[in-house]
Symmetry: C2
Subunit: 389 residues, 2 copies
């Protein structure tokens, strides 16, 4: 019988949005490795190797380091569900969409949530956290390292200091930063940190690398109640990904192969070199955009590098430009969310997408579209000449 | 810098456990399709096509039909979290490990749970459900269609009748049965049904196809509280997989490609033909096993076909036989869980793993191992001769 649906045949997009990023060819190859059972001794070895590589990515010795079987949001939820119980208090940076999500998750667990708001495009000032926490018993200080919905970056070391002052666990959402921006879990004493497979790691979406330190393990042991989700309950997951390898749920085997290979690619490039590549290419992008006469949403010291928020100039239909880039050039960039809808573009340069060629191509294509849509480009040298990675 | 970990290189296992099953070559190919953004118009079309195919698999017109971004257990949790609120009552069949899990999930939501137990290897009698529900307000009747930990099958039509009598939503765990055993969501009036991508569908693990009817949608609209999990909250997921395509979380893009292709394979074979293939090959397997002198755990009318529980004969080390099959023949079968540990083998014939050749190979390899371990095989014809698919 013929299926009413044909073979899958997506166009070859250049992914320069806030994720997913382009997948490395080596990672595709790893997806094809033969399927194993989730308790096969060969898969258990592959799990261990993946954990070794994840510890290198995060810069940690944490025993509890593994990929959550879901996308980045599953990592967020694992953090909130396990670190918080009903009645406890969390202070959370809300500099945009993903901070709001983290706060929502904490509230669903029954926690009291103090939201720290920031103006659109800016990060939360750590001093706000200090003042909000004063005199209260805070269990968790939740910080979105890079707020992907705007491009604002939070200063983790400053928040670590606040967490120390109030004795809170520091939970860091590094979904769009780990592997692209300097981050060292142990050196910076992040209690929990998680990321997504599809951002700076350039594997397909579907896994959320996660790490938590012994202090968090102890806090979990001290819980009065169980987390409301079985799937995200770390006491069980720890037994599968920890020493015992007790069956919890079937791991997404092929995705683990893919993540493992993506982490090998990170290792071979070297973390420092990778961070520098992200810095250099994004610097070139911003130089080129500014040379066109465009303005960035976030001022330089607070910009997250891996995702850049760019203001759409007055009179230009931001959505139309995005559609043209997609349809005419196969380039994906993203628009704004919530109050920033139609007002900004979000350009991601992450993992395998973060190349000099992609920067030049995007600048050239954007320049063409903007000119044709009637935007008066700044006079002077062509953008390609300015954008020197 | 050289990574401390080499290229992934798993052995080519023949997967005859309770899942994952072997992945169809066409499905591997689909995994390689270029990555798309999760809001790309081309991906939205691919989502729609996947939903069309899922409705055909489930035999349903349900609008709310989509793959949960997690493994089978994520489908279970989505069902329990959305259909139940704290203080409500659920009646759940506990014929083994997976019934226990479903009950655990319901309890975490704060529901009162009435567990219906069955002796090892047998399904729960629907009459038990009728008696347990008498005089109570039951919100959910949860039934494990096939209990993968033993191989027992529940009679869905009988449980539907009980659910009708007490006005409960019928929630069916078809993780290891959908696509392998007759199941028609609309005709059998299952309110919620979910499965796993890695069982009878032969895609890699990582997605949980899920469907719920308008009655469930209405029940969700009537909830007094939000589900404790954001990731599994159907009111949000419905907006992404429903008509609006509002961003929720990043879908596991490559896994959706794989599932879509696996469903095309199902379509081309035809559901009826596929069910018949599973029946025929499992019949051949059982004939062969019995010819050797082995005994099945579950009597024929209550056997689930896709996974068969086989008693390990006295004096035989069940674990050693499994290890030999794996190490000498690259064949994976599973052992028992909980009280059945060391007492049974579980043999799965699902999806691409369910072939005549695999039946013959397993029988021959098992016969060799058993003979060498000192088990007295039944006299008479060789098993291969008896096992006629």
């Amino acid at each position: 019988m013929k299926s009413p649906v044909g073979e899958v045949n997506p166009p070859p997009r250049i992914l320069l949005g806030p994720g997913p990023s382009c997948v490395d060819a080596r990672v595709y190859r790893a997806l094809l490795a033969p399927m194993l059972g989730h308790l096969d001794p060969d898969f258990l070895r592959i799990m261990e190797e993946t954990q070794v590589l994840l510890r290198r990515l995060f810069g940690t010795e944490n025993r509890l380091t593994f990929p959550v079987s879901g996308t980045g949001s599953a990592g967020m939820e694992t953090a909130m569900m396990n670190c918080l119980e009903a009645g406890e208090t969390a202070v959370i940076t809300v500099a945009g969409f993903f901070g709001t999500r983290l706060a929502d998750m904490a509230r669903r667990v029954g926690a009291e949530v103090i939201e720290l708001k920031a103006p659109a495009g800016l990060p939360v000032d750590p001093q706000q956290a200090r003042e909000a926490a004063r005199g209260k018993k805070i269990k968790v200080l939740g910080v979105t390292h890079g707020e992907t919905s705007t491009g604002a970056l939070h200063d983790l070391d400053a928040f670590r200091q606040v967490a120390d002052e109030c004795g809170a666990l520091l939970v860091v959402d590094a979904v769009a930063t780990a592997g692209g921006i300097p981050l060292r879990v142990d050196a910076q004493r992040l209690d929990v940190c998680f990321t997504g497979s599809q951002k700076c790691l350039s594997a397909p979406p579907g896994l959320a690398p996660f790490t938590a330190n012994p202090r968090v393990e102890e806090a979990i042991r001290q819980r009065r109640t169980r987390p409301p989700s079985w799937y995200f309950d770390l006491t069980h997951i720890m037994k599968y990904w920890g020493g015992e390898r007790t069956y919890h749920h079937t791991a997404p085997i092929s995705m683990v192969y893919a993540l493992r290979e993506a982490l090998r690619v990170v290792d071979e490039e070297g973390l420092e070199a990778r961070w520098e590549r992200h810095r250099r290419n994004t610097q070139a992008l911003v130089t080129g955009l500014e040379a066109m006469g465009l303005e960035m949403l976030t001022p330089p010291p607070q910009r997250m590098i891996t995702v850049t928020g760019v203001k759409a100039p007055p009179g230009i239909d931001a959505g139309k430009i995005r559609r043209r880039l997609l349809e005419e050039f196969n380039i994906e960039i993203a628009g704004g969310l919530g109050e920033l809808k139609g007002k900004i573009w979000r350009i991601g340069l992450m993992g395998a997408s973060c190349t000099q060629n992609n920067v030049l191509l995007l600048l050239a294509a954007l320049e063409k579209c903007l000119a044709e849509e009637g935007f008066k480009l700044s006079p002077g040298a062509g953008v390609a000449a300015v954008a020197r990675p």
